[in-house]
Amino acid sequence: MPAELPEHVARTRNGQPATVLEAISEALWEEMERDDRVFLMGEDIGAYGGAFKVTRGFLEHFGPSRVVDTPIAEGGFTGAAAGAAHMGLRPVVEMQFMDFISPAYDVLTNYIATSLYRGSGPLPLVVRGPVGGGNRGGPFHSQNVEMAFFHTPGLKIVYPSNPRDAKGLLKSAMRDDNPVIFEEHKGLYRAPFCREVLPPDDYVIPLGRARTALEGENITIVTYGLMVHRSLEAAAELARDGIRAEVIDLRTLLPLDEDAIAASVTKTGKLLIVHEDTRTGGIAGEIAIRMNERAFEWLDGPILRVTAIDSPVPFSGELEDYFLPSTQDVVTAARYLVEY
């Protein structure tokens, strides 16, 4: 009954446009209604409703055994979530900021990622939380965490760029039997440019499949998260010069949809990768070598990348803006590559 729902999980039922944050709240709420094995764990997600209020109203509705406030112990409660998953529950763990996933690095990479392989069975578990810069959060509240886990076989990594995908991907992640890291960009949570009316049905978006955000012939821009929007802005500027860029939104980073990238690169012959995360050891490298393996003969120019610079995330606004990749950086690099 929509009347008693918190408004941020009732947007779709009320036919209103939803933000990314609301789409995530809706996915959690609907899956908890659908499947009573799903439960939430995290710091201050219950009475307080979460640092970003994603789970506001959940405790009242689902009760304390399904909305579990934890001590400040990311490693411990992620390990416990794994044990609960082994016993048939489907935990969704919130990191207050994804930067604080690092105390859980050991249990995620050594224990959780290897469970199926070691014979301890599938381990359905989602670790979700806010990532990304631009919010003046400084080095400990602004990181992107994908590359901490991208090298670990057995994990999946999802990073949506819009409300529709966020909801559909989170539902898929929660129904997946593998552990999934789910990154939510703070800059998208309540962004006015990023609200949409969501399909009213119980839709899912499959993991491991990229999306063509814009079709084009002259250059492929592969990106994800907030950078999808920067890349689309850049594409609009390029279009004024007659350059038609194809923008691919990866959506899932691991497993990587190399088929989609290869299909685009074999069409355009040029590949630019744009990620907000820092440069060295970023995902652009893996994409580059996969396209060497798959599409070398189609490359009419070097595979290039636009990224943040190799530094912790700066605290001051001036420095953070300088640090982050900008729309103009994408335009410059794309122009260079198209003219190559």
């Binding site: 411990g76 392989y117 014979g119 393996e293 599409a295």
Partner: protein, 340 residues
């Protein structure tokens, strides 16, 4: 529960005939298996570091005091550093243990995973997953699942006492305490490792407000009763319980079992002949295993390297060794599917 109240439990928990027989059988199995492993290690059939292999027979009693049910409906046990003791008590065979010790055998997981423990939910057995302390977190989560579903089940975990040095262990025990999860943690006094300032396991238990049972040289009928009581406390809302398995004061590591065997004839209703028959049967099983282990073939990589992700097909797409990728030849068409 304090040591005192446990000791006074002597009369309150009667040992049935089945339990007595089991404890005798498993104890003799452990005795024979210890000798078997040492022999195999000296002959080069097993890792030479196992030449001084020991089994703490008390662990078989602790494990047998849990609630054991078929089909994965009973208590859960991570035998940890005391495997195979608790594994035998949870129904593992000596041959299964030897397969793990030999890194080969019929189970694919056995050949992939390593360590002297393994997972078999049907029997309530749980395999090792990495850093010391982590299994306390994982079993805390399993116990949480039991409590949330209102089941009469507990989770039992054996850790070296050095677990107290690791933060991960503290996070696990604190979480179990906060969530009042039926977790029983056995801390095994060890020999290596630098140690901790927290010398008194009793003080650690007190600082978390959880029950403590100390185990020394007592006869196994007493030990069994103590553990039964601790388990009952944990499952009946007492939350986590700590069991301190202290270093033995006497020389004879098998004294507790031998005292118990004497008690079985004296008060337990067994004849000397019964007892000998039980011992012979246990030893015969171990003999068979020791004989058989050398004759089993090693695993076939193509069969045993199961997929890392649950939905991987049998082609194992993660096997990317072959550089000549089919798509790499110039002009080959690239078939791709693109989502949304």
């Amino acid at each position: 529960m304090t040591t005192e109240s446990a000791a006074s439990s002597r009369r309150s928990v009667p040992l049935g005939r089945k339990v007595t027989e089991d404890l005798l059988y498993i104890g003799y199995q452990a005795l024979a298996l210890e000798a078997g492993v040492r022999t195999l290690a000296r002959s080069g059939e097993l890792d030479p570091t196992l030449a001084g292999f020991r089994i703490d027979v008390r662990s078989t009693v602790i494990a047998r005091a849990m609630r054991q049910l078929p089909g994965g409906r009973g208590d859960l046990c991570f035998p940890g550093p005391l495997s195979p003791g608790p594994s035998l008590a949870f129904g593992a065979t000596p041959l299964e243990f030897l397969r793990h010790a030999a890194r080969r055998g019929t189970s694919a997981a056995a050949t992939r995973s390593g360590g002297l423990t393994w997972t078999e939910y049907g029997r309530g057995l749980f395999g090792w997953g990495g850093a010391g302390g982590v299994m306390t977190q994982v079993l805390a989560g399993a116990a949480l699942a039991f409590r949330q579903r209102g089941e009469d089940r507990a989770a039992l975990v054996f850790e070296k006492c050095s677990a107290v040095e690791s933060g991960g262990w503290h996070e696990g025990i604190n979480l179990a305490g906060t969530l009042v999860a039926p977790l029983i943690v056995v801390l095994v006094a060890g020999s290596m490792g630098c140690g901790t300032r927290a010398t008194g396991v009793d003080k650690v238990a007190r600082s978390y407000g959880i029950g403590l049972t100390e185990v020394g040289d007592e006869p196994h009928d007493d030990l069994f009763r103590k553990i039964r009581l601790a388990r009952a406390g944990a499952v009946d809302g007492g939350g986590p319980m700590l069991i301190h398995l202290k270093a033995r004061s006497g020389e004879d590591r098998w004294a507790g079992h031998n005292d118990f065997a004497a008690w079985a004839v004296r008060e337990g209703g067994f004849s000397r002949g019964d007892r000998s028959a039980i011992a012979r049967a246990a030893v015969a099983g171990v003999d068979h295993a020791v004989d058989r282990i050398g004759k089993e073939p090693g695993p076939d990589p193509d069969d045993a390297l199961a997929p890392v992700f649950t939905e991987c097909d049998s082609e194992r797409p993660w096997t990317r060794r072959e550089p000549p990728h089919p798509h790499m030849a110039a002009g080959a068409a690239v078939e791709v599917a693109n989502a949304r």
